[in-house]
């Protein structure tokens, strides 16, 4: 039996390694993420809150769940900072996910602006989780700026293409001393499992569950896959042979001690 396996973000302890991303929201999705995937953190786009209709997401999130407002819609650091301040005013707490995009086609994050925003917001006391393109230099700059984690993308958001940036995420896991939360592009539980086997701290996903045939069942599938990947990582993966077979007798068995 493994000992209690938790991780820390901004002084808060988390057990669940599944974080619900924002975007394709519905109340059913939030319920499924909390009840079936065990989510303890839920992202919400500030631009979707505070709406007049009864679809206001804030009112539907259980108390024990940490809110992670994001800055989607921001095109530069300055806009991101303004959105974050707005989030604090409407009672979203101090956790923030920085998303800065200057490309409406692929919605790829702008690392340079993200580093700038992180610096400013850490100074204002926020727990900053930046969404980023997996680049080692940018990750180091974010670490130096005081980010609480880095959130590299697996593939373009909403694409469900899985770990297209696998090798580069591995470099971040190996080199950065912050939790690495894989965000965007995870299309199926097996991909979430693979990222966890690599040593990722947690997975953020939305589309894969939101567009599934059965939302609660898919949420449960993600929970199991993330757990399996995490346990595989903790146990240490067995040998994987690249090619050929291993000789059962050692190749150097012929060597004798010379007298």
């Amino acid at each position: 039996m493994l000992k209690k396996d938790t991780f820390m973000l901004g002084g808060r302890e988390f057990t669940s390694r599944f974080i619900l991303g924002s975007g394709k929201y519905s109340m059913e999705l939030i319920r499924a993420a909390v009840e079936h995937a065990g989510a303890e953190m839920i992202t919400l786009a500030v631009r979707r809150t505070n709406t007049g209709k009864d679809e206001n997401i804030l009112g539907h999130i259980p108390e024990h769940v940490t809110l992670l407002p994001n800055t989607s819609g921001a095109r530069n650091a300055q806009e991101a900072v303004r959105i974050v301040r707005m989030a604090r005013e409407i009672g979203c707490g101090d956790f923030v996910k920085i998303e800065i995009m200057k490309d409406s086609k692929y919605l790829l994050p702008d690392n340079e602006e993200t580093v700038k925003a992180t610096k400013l917001l850490v100074r204002e006391g926020f727990v900053v989780l930046p969404y980023m393109y997996p680049d080692l230099y940018a990750a180091r700059a974010l670490e130096a700026a005081g980010a609480a984690a880095v959130m590299p993308l697996a593939s373009p958001i909403g694409s469900n293409k899985g770990l297209a940036t696998k090798e580069f995420i591995q470099i971040l896991i190996d080199e950065i001393d912050l939790p690495v939360i894989v965000d965007a592009g995870i299309g199926r539980p097996s991909q979430a499992c693979e990222a966890m086997e690599m040593g990722a701290t947690a997975i953020m996903s939305n589309t894969a569950i939101a567009t599934a045939g059965n939302i609660p069942v898919m949420a449960g599938a993600f929970k199991k896959a993330i757990q399996a990947g995490r346990e595989a990582y903790l146990s240490g993966l067995g040998r994987v042979l690249k090619r050929g077979a291993a000789a059962s007798d050692p190749l150097t068995g012929f060597l004798r001690d010379e007298e």
């Binding site: 975007g23 394709k24 929201y25 519905s26 786009a45 500030v46 631009r47 979707r48 709406t51 007049g52 209709k53 679809e55 819609g73 921001a74 095109r75 806009e79 303004r82 959105i83 707005m86 995009m101 200057k102 490309d103 409406s104 086609k105 692929y106 919605l107 909403g158 694409s159 469900n160 589309t207 939101a210 567009t211």
Partner: protein, 417 residues
């Protein structure tokens, strides 16, 4: 001549006015050069118009074959060539396959969300003679411009219904509905709604910047047709006659700080396949130049107007419209697609499941008649409507219908920064 269908003489026009109207209609040399800028129009020297018109000129929808469409269908990314094939008559037998692929692209980028908005016509005065339009300066209609108090009242009524995104429209009269009037409307609207869009006459970059500062963030300009010769025959008088100034409006809006821009041809005015091709290409090239901006396409078909029921979309039937929208989605999977109340309920219910991401609800294309429409009260005289609508569902009905179709209606997904 096809456009003869559109010419209607009102009995209330004076002799001199009628003479001028007829001259404009019959003598092309009496009209101003439609490719030349008028005084005060900013020229931004963009290369996008030449690229779009050049590509459009080389596009022959009839040249595409069954084989081209089948090849396009197996490609992961839809190229310009593939898009041409999808828009061609050869693609008609593949409509269902295109719809299946379009649906999956829409879901990847937008999930099951559908955005809702409503238009608010501020005024219907117009200084242009666009022969197919109900607001044209020679059409005998009841003209009206909302006063500050009337605007406020209309906005209050609309906001009470739950609408959070509004599209402010005017006829194209720079003297009656001047910039400060529109700016005042934006300021007022920003107090009632989370998202304010504009569909007004094209203006210069600095004027777009001013309107953005007043609270507007999205600009819609319909080019009507990208066929410059046809454009010339349809827009006989006024500033709208200047084709290139209108073409560059979205670019100026983005330069002026607007977050997003919307495009369309009015389908039915010219070869709709070529017009659809040019509309999407206009978005495509602008997105490459200004990747930070948000883009959307509409797909209006010609509708009958007051005093002329002969105006219609001719060869653009529902199947053709669906083909265009699927092709748009495959070529530009990330852009918003708006389907207005020019289309019937069954079409809008169907197309939101395939390609559309935004629909209007609680629509009136008249001026100052929301109180009557929303709350059944008749107060004063309203200005006449721009065209006839075919789907008059209220916001509440639309919201319920979308939910029943398994879609998620979204009132707002936006923050003004």
């Amino acid at each position: 001549m096809t456009e003869q269908l559109y010419f209607v003489d009102s009995e209330r026009l004076g002799k001199k006015t009628l003479e001028k109207k007829h001259r404009l209609e019959q003598e092309p040399c009496s009209r101003q050069n439609h490719m030349e800028y008028m005084e005060g129009m900013e020229c931004i020297s963009s290369d996008i118009m030449q690229r779009v018109l050049g590509e459009m000129k080389g596009y022959d929808p009839e040249a595409y074959t069954d084989e081209d469409v089948r090849k396009a269908l197996v490609h992961d990314v839809c190229s310009i060539e593939d898009f041409k094939a999808f828009l061609s008559p050869a693609a008609m037998p593949y409509l269902e396959e295109m719809a299946v692929r379009a649906k999956s692209e829409t879901e990847k980028h937008f999930g099951n969300t559908v955005y809702l908005f409503t238009p608010l016509y501020l005024a219907n005065y117009c200084e242009n003679y666009c022969v197919y339009c109900g607001f044209n300066c020679y059409n005998d209609i009841v003209r009206k411009k909302l006063s500050h108090e009337e605007m406020k009242k209309e906005m209050e009524i609309i906001a009470r219904s739950g609408i959070e995104e509004i599209l402010l429209l005017t006829g194209e009269s720079q003297s009656v509905s001047d910039l400060s009037y529109i700016g005042e409307a934006c300021r007022l609207a920003a107090g009632y709604f989370r998202n304010v869009g504009l569909e007004i006459y094209p203006v210069n970059t600095e004027e777009y910047r001013y309107l953005h500062e007043c609270g507007a963030d999205y600009v819609t300009v319909f080019q009507e047709t990208y066929d410059t010769d046809r454009y010339e025959e349809l827009h006989l008088l006024g500033r709208k006659r200047v084709f290139p100034y209108r073409f560059d409006a979205q670019e100026r809006a983005v330069m002026g700080g607007m977050r997003g821009v919307a495009f369309s041809a009015l389908l039915g005015l010219a070869d709709f396949r070529k017009d659809a091709f040019a509309s999407a290409l206009h978005v495509y090239y602008l997105q490459r130049k200004y990747p930070q901006a948000e883009y959307s396409l509409s797909c209006p078909r010609l509708r009958p107007i007051i005093n002329n029921d002969k105006v219609d979309a001719r060869d653009v039937h529902e199947r053709e419209l669906c083909q265009i929208l699927c092709a748009y989605r495959l070529f530009l999977p990330y852009v918003g697609i708006t389907v207005s109340s020019r289309e019937q309920k069954h079409f809008r219910n169907g197309i939101v499941k395939i390609a559309a991401t935004k629909v209007s609800a609680g629509v009136s294309t008249g001026v100052g008649d929301h109180e009557r429409k929303y709350e059944g009260k008749r107060v004063g005289e309203a200005g006449d409507e721009q065209f006839e609508i075919l789907d008059d569902r209220s916001l509440e009905q639309m919201y319920e219908d979308l939910e029943q179709e398994g879609l998620q209606p979204v009132m707002n997904d936006y923050v003004y920064v």
